[in-house]
C-alpha cells in the first residue's frame, strides 16, 4: 500500500485534512480566503493592510497573554452619547470586569478607552488617559494602525504582568 492510498484510507469518513471541503479545486495558497471566517474577510476590506492586521493581531495576543486581561479594539461609528455606547460594547465582552476596550470612531474623531472594574485596578484612569493622548496624537497624524498599536502597548505595560 502506498502512502497516498494509506492517507486516502485514513481520511475516509473523517474530517478532511485541509480546509478544502472537496478534493481538487484551488490550493490554499491560491485562495487563502478558504481558511478565513467571514469576519476575517471583512477585516481585509477595512482601512488596514494585511501587514497592519497581522501586527494588530499579534499586539492583541501578546497584551492578553502578558497581562491576563482581555484587550479589544473597536473601530467604527459610536452612537451618541459615545461614552455610553462604548461602555455598552464593553459590557458585551466576556469577563467584562477584566476587559479593556479601545473604541475608535474616525468619523467622529472620538476615542474611548473603557476599563472593567478589575482592569481599572491595574490600569488607572490616569494611565488610560496617557495612552489615549498618545493614540489621539497618532490618529491626528492619520496613523490609525500605529496609534492603536502604541496605545495597546502602553495599556499593557501599565497593567504589568499577571
Amino acid at each position: 500500500m502506498t502512502v497516498g492510498e494509506q492517507q486516502a484510507f485514513i481520511s475516509v469518513g473523517e474530517q478532511p485534512l485541509t480546509a478544502l471541503d472537496h478534493p481538487g479545486g484551488p490550493t490554499l495558497s491560491e485562495q487563502p480566503e478558504l481558511t478565513m471566517s467571514a469576519e476575517s474577510i471583512a477585516a481585509l476590506d477595512g482601512p488596514f493592510s494585511t501587514r497592519q492586521l497581522l501586527r494588530l493581531d499579534e499586539a492583541l495576543r501578546v497584551a492578553d497573554q502578558q497581562t491576563g486581561l482581555t484587550f479589544s479594539v473597536y473601530l467604527g461609528e459610536l452612537a451618541e452619547p459615545t461614552r455610553e455606547s462604548a461602555e455598552q460594547l464593553h459590557r458585551q465582552l466576556e469577563g467584562a470586569a477584566s476587559a479593556v476596550l479601545v473604541a475608535v470612531s474616525p468619523n467622529q474623531r472620538i476615542l474611548e478607552i473603557v476599563t472593567g472594574s478589575d482592569a481599572r485596578k491595574r490600569i488607572s484612569d490616569r494611565d488610560a488617559k496617557l495612552a489615549a493622548l498618545s493614540m489621539s496624537a497618532a490618529f491626528a497624524g492619520g496613523d490609525l494602525a500605529g496609534g492603536v498599536l502604541a496605545g495597546l502597548d502602553q495599556l499593557a505595560s501599565h497593567a504589568g504582568r499577571h
Binding site: S37, E39, A42, A43, D45, G46, P47, F48, S49, D57, L60, A63, T70, F71, S72, V73, Y74, L75, G76, E77, L78, A79, T82, R83, S85, E87, Q88, L89, H90, R91, Q92, L93, E94, G95, A96, A97, A99, P106, N107, R109, I110, L111, I113, T115, G116, S117, A119, R120, S124, D125, A128, K129, A131, A132, L133, M135, S136, A140, G141, G142
Partner: protein
C-alpha cells in the same frame, strides 16, 4: 556611421526604450488598489470592525455581534459588573 544610423542609435532607440518603460509604469500604476489610508477630516467609510485576540470572547448572550449590531442591541442590557473606568479623547 551615416546620419541615418546615428539618429537611429542615439535618438530613436533611447526614445523607444523610454516609451516602453513609461507605458509599463503607467500600466502597473493603474493596478494599485484605492487609497485606504485614513486621513483626518476625510470621510471614513468602512464597516465597523471589532478586533479581539479570540473572537469567541464577545458574549454569545447577545447573539452574533458585529460592531454595528452590538450597538443596536440596546434592549439586551446586562447587569453592570461594576463601575468602569477609562478615558476619552478627541483629535
Amino acid at each position: 556611421m551615416s546620419i541615418f544610423s546615428t539618429i537611429l542609435v542615439f535618438a530613436v532607440t533611447p526614445l523607444a526604450v523610454v516609451i516602453v518603460i513609461g507605458a509599463l509604469a503607467a500600466l502597473g500604476g493603474s493596478h494599485h488598489r484605492p487609497d485606504r489610508r485614513y486621513r483626518p477630516g476625510r470621510p471614513y467609510d468602512f464597516a465597523p470592525t471589532w478586533f479581539l485576540a479570540s473572537p469567541a470572547q464577545v458574549s454569545p448572550a447577545l447573539g452574533k455581534t458585529s460592531g454595528a449590531q452590538a450597538l443596536e442591541s440596546g434592549e439586551h442590557r446586562q447587569v453592570r459588573p461594576g463601575p468602569v473606568g477609562g478615558a476619552s479623547d478627541r483629535w
